[in-house]
């Protein structure tokens, strides 16, 4: 039995009702809800695990009332830190573990411990993301508009980007409000873009840059670039450190006398 499985068995014996982790899937490991010790042997945890498990932590029907343990990869830790800062998680009901670079299982006791661990893990764009950033930055405003309209012409409004996002936890999303109908329910390029603008603006200063939205898109629109670009803007305008949960309020809902405000023309 691998050490993740051994740990899971111990956690279940200690009284946890659920251990959230990963099991082998078709292309890569997938989220796995381990509720019985005999299922623990299926658990895996390595660099192939990319799904952000924090997305499940805000679903009461899945979490139940018992104590839950979660094997969190770096992006899940970032989301947990952010969700906790937004008062969406009660850390005392959760046991949060990770596999360190030294392949040791580390258990976090407090939010501060998670924050301190994350401060040692740099947030970086991948090479493909950097390439897209360079490509788009080199475009004129008109060319960029054309690029995104073309990308969003493929959107089928399946809302996988929303469903996969650990920060999209609203019980009633703006897309579900129909008086007035803010977001058109049928797909067409401009309303599709309106939806993404809404999504991204709701995530400003909250997005932890895990890329779950982009990976979830069945038609391959790089929607995660939009929120990652926002991270970049935030760090320039508000001194936000990408990958670190906010400590003193959301950028767009907090006023500070020393805000530069140099984007207001």
């Amino acid at each position: 039995m691998n050490k993740i499985a051994e740990k899971a068995v111990a956690l279940l014996q200690e009284g946890h009702t659920l251990v959230l982790g990963y099991e082998e899937g078709d292309r890569a490991p997938r989220p796995f809800f381990c509720r019985q010790a005999e299922e623990a042997q299926h658990l895996v945890l390595d660099e192939r695990c990319t799904a952000n498990l924090a997305v499940y932590l805000t679903k009461p029907e899945l979490m139940g009332k018992g104590r839950v343990a979660v094997f969190a990869i770096t992006s899940s830790l970032r989301a947990i830190a952010q969700l906790t800062a937004e008062n969406q998680l009660q850390l005392e009901n959760l046991t949060i573990l990770t596999l360190t670079a030294e392949q040791e299982i580390k258990t976090f006791a407090t939010l501060e411990e998670i924050r301190s661990y994350l401060s040692e893990v740099p947030y970086e764009l991948s090479d493909t993301e950097k390439a897209l950033d360079e490509k788009l930055s080199a475009m004129t405003r008109e060319e960029r508009w054309k690029y995104w309209i073309n990308e969003f012409s493929r959107c089928i409004k399946c809302y996988a980007c929303r469903a996969a996002c650990p920060m999209c936890y609203c019980t009633r999303c703006i897309t579900e409000v129909n008086r007035p109908q803010w977001i058109s329910p049928w797909p067409s390029p401009l309303p599709n873009m309106e939806w993404q603008i809404n999504r991204v603006m709701h995530l400003v200063g909250r997005c932890i840059g895990c890329g779950a939205c982009g990976r979830a898109c069945p038609v391959g629109i790089p929607v995660d670039y939009l929120s990652k670009k926002m991270l970049q803007d935030l760090s320039e305008e508000f001194g936000y450190v990408p990958g670190q949960a906010m400590q003193d309020g959301n950028a767009l809902s907090t006023f500070k006398p020393d805000d530069k405000e140099n984007f207001i023309h």
Partner: protein, 336 residues
């Protein structure tokens, strides 16, 4: 059914004839790592190194969004413009797979159950399906478990089986298919007598018996299995939207001042809003109930009501799922 042979040059000539006739031709086109149906203007645009398109071809007969009627009000008089069948162009869907072509049959049953849907009917009448049998499959494919196969011809108007010389074995299956052949009859030759289609087909293993699944589902409504299976499901609509047989839709208004449109657009039983009542009550309040609905609808309610299963084994839902809700695996586990 008539058989023919068409050479590589013949294919090119025939394809040009289809376009020259003014038909709208949809074919698989590559965009980065995804392949999807798009209108094309030449055979060069058609992708050839893929197993399956991301989306099915159902949007050719059941568009993502379609105007049922439009209206305008002027000087107290309201003018109604109904859907006009004449606006629907003659369409050829080129290079769909057998699992897609066969998907048009359950769609047709759904859109004709107790009421003949004029929009669907018009699209279907004007659409000719040119399928290519499958020489490749992946682990998501399970057509042979749901009464289909890599060389299944049901639903197709013409089926082509690509040959090593760049040409193809042609099976002309319907009068619509024959009409398409007539656009370039000189491109088609007599088939080679000893040509056996089966040797060019992909090997797709049989994972389960469909009747066994149906029997199992008869008293599975209250089973705990739905909760267990759906735990990782995120509740997006990707599976329904890429599916060749999912036909749920929503009716929406698009008013702009004194004019507007009534629009039919795709919807999904995976969304919580799909069953939300005005009162606030939701009969399918949690994802496990929605996942159960998805499976029961396709493998129990549809065969009970319209005598056909709602799955063609194309595997698209599994490929599109962000959390690997593999339908073949879930179905297999039901009977194991």
């Amino acid at each position: 059914m008539e058989k023919r042979y068409i050479s590589k040059e013949g294919l090119s000539r025939w394809f040009k004839a289809l376009l020259a006739g003014g038909k709208r031709v949809y074919a698989p086109v590559r965009n980065n790592d995804k392949v999807d149906f798009k209108p094309v203007r030449s055979l060069d645009e058609v992708a050839d190194d893929y197993v399956q398109t991301t989306q099915s071809a159902k949007s050719t007969v059941f568009p993502r969004a379609e105007v049922l009627f439009s209206y305008q009000k002027e000087n107290g008089i309201t003018t109604l413009n109904d859907f006009d069948p004449a606006t629907v162009p003659e369409t050829v869907v080129w290079k769909i797979h057998p699992c897609d072509a066969v998907g048009f049959i359950p769609l047709s049953q759904i859109f004709n159950e107790g009421y003949e849907d004029i929009l669907y009917k018009t699209h279907l009448e004007k659409t000719t399906l040119v399928s290519f049998s499958c020489s490749h499959a992946d682990s998501f494919c399970f057509c042979t478990s749901v009464q289909g196969g890599p060389g299944e011809t049901t639903g197709s108007d013409i089926q082509l089986t690509s040959l090593p010389d760049g040409g193809a074995l042609v099976e002309i299956l319907t009068p619509k298919g024959e009409a398409l052949v007539q656009l370039s009859a000189e491109s088609f030759e007599a088939p080679k007598e000893d040509e056996d289609k089966a040797q060019y087909l992909a090997d797709v293993p049989i994972y389960f018996q469909l009747d066994e699944i149906r029997n199992k589902l008869k008293d599975a409504f209250n089973s705990d299995i739905w909760k267990k299976q759906s735990e990782r499901c995120l509740g997006c609509g990707a599976c329904a939207f890429v599916c060749p047989t999912c036909a749920c839709f929503d009716i929406q208004e698009n008013p702009k001042g004194s004019q507007g449109q009534r629009i039919r657009c795709w919807d999904s039983c995976g969304f919580s809003l799909f069953t939300q009542h005005t009162s606030g009550h939701n009969p399918r309040a949690v994802q496990s109930q929605r996942w159960r609905q998805r499976i029961l609808h396709k493998f129990s309610y549809m065969p009970d009501r319209i005598n056909i299963f709602g799955c063609t084994g194309c595997g698209r839902c599994s490929r599109a799922c962000p959390v690997d809700m593999n339908i073949r695996e879930h179905l297999t586990s039901l009977v194991k």
